[in-house]
């Protein structure tokens, strides 16, 4: 039971990362690979927030009602994840723009055919 309580989040996020990597490694469609990268980003963000999570902690936001602070969760990973999510979106948007342009030029998104530049 104790394994479940403390490690379920890590299992979840690293499962996401591994699935994302598998998609990026194996799938031949460009959009599918970009989805894989998106999965990896989500997994990594989940992992960062999970590192900051304390057992029974509360959200690091003070309000008139909740004044006490010792049970609060570590706010730093949340700040990092905020940045990481937006980085993920930016990379994703650029990736999809490039995918559209690749489709314009080559008419296909199959990575096995997109080998114009090699050797």
């Amino acid at each position: 039971m104790n394994f479940l309580t403390s490690y379920i989040h890590y299992v979840g996020c690293f499962a996401l990362v591994l699935i994302g990597l598998y998609v990026a490694l194996v799938k031949s469609n460009l959009i599918k690979v970009i989805i894989g990268i998106n999965l990896i980003d989500t997994g990594v963000n989940l992992f960062l927030v999970a590192t900051g999570y304390l057992g029974g902690g509360t959200a690091p936001i003070f309000s008139k009602a909740a004044e006490q602070s010792q049970e609060m969760v570590d706010p730093v990973p949340q700040a990092l994840v905020l940045t990481a999510i937006v980085i993920g979106v930016s990379v994703l948007a650029l990736a999809l723009a490039l995918a559209i342009k690749v489709y314009d030029h080559n008419g296909t998104l199959d990575l096995r055919k997109l080998k114009g530049l090699k050797w």
Partner: protein, 239 residues
């Protein structure tokens, strides 16, 4: 052949993760005891939580970490979004030839008026989110995203209204400039970049936290205009 190799590789990577996470500091329970043992000055998460409130008088500690303690990251972050919007524009530069959709797909009257009615409400929610970034959860990024979803609605819902890209670009760069100037004033006045030079006011009041709400407003406008710029670029025209 490719599948087997990648499965083998991922197996070893998974083993690496497992090897890493076995120890004490990871895992929710493990984290809790290890945090309690650790004194404040070693783990800065606890220090921000314990002293953050009276240093910046900003209720949302995450916001004070995002903008004050680690504000330089957010400056980098905003630059990245700016680069993404411009990069998208640069890459899709040559594709302006948009074919106007045929009659059949034009949105019905109800849909377009509904959207135009809903748009100001979404903007209001978005603006509320990033104005109250330092009090309640949420902030520049989340508010900007909501504003962008408003623009998305306009973009999908009603065809006629074309987003004024020059205004978006101006909003984008002006708000980015505002953020950097606020930080530079901190350097000029208080001797260190991103310093919270304004009085930080009472804790839960709207005008608390010194320059933090100002920066979050600038970020909100910037993220909103950039994400809608991205959407406008990507949805330039439907073939």
């Amino acid at each position: 052949m490719r599948k087997q190799i990648s499965l083998l590789l991922l197996l070893i990577v998974a083993a690496g993760f497992a090897l890493c996470l076995a120890g004490a500091p990871f895992g929710a329970e493990g984290a809790r005891e290890s945090r309690r043992l650790v004194k404040d000055n070693v783990n800065y998460g606890r220090r921000y939580v314990s002293k953050g409130l009276d240093e910046n008088r900003c209720a949302n500690i995450v916001t004070s970490v995002v903008l004050n303690y680690r504000g330089f990251d957010t400056l980098g972050e905003v630059t990245i979004l700016f680069i993404a919007a411009l990069g998208l524009g640069a890459v899709l530069y040559g594709r302006r030839a948009g074919a106007s959709p045929d009659e059949a797909q034009r949105p019905s009257l109800i849909l377009s008026t509904g959207c135009r009615l809903l748009f100001p409400l979404i903007m209001l929610v978005g603006i509320y989110i990033f104005i109250h970034g330092h009090l309640s959860p949420g902030g520049g990024f989340q508010g900007g995203a909501v504003i962008a979803s408003g623009f998305l609605l306009i973009c999908l819902g009603c065809r006629k209204k074309k987003l004024n890209s020059v205004a978006l670009g101006a909003a984008e760069s002006l708000s980015g400039l505002a953020f950097v100037l606020l930080a530079l004033i901190g350097l000029a006045v208080g001797g260190s970049f991103l310093l919270n030079f304004l009085p930080t006011g009472k804790v839960y009041a709207l005008f608390s936290g010194g320059i933090i709400p100002l920066i979050y407003i600038a970020i909100g406008v910037k993220v909103g205009s950039e994400l809608s710029g991205i959407i406008d670029n990507l949805s330039g025209e439907v073939r």
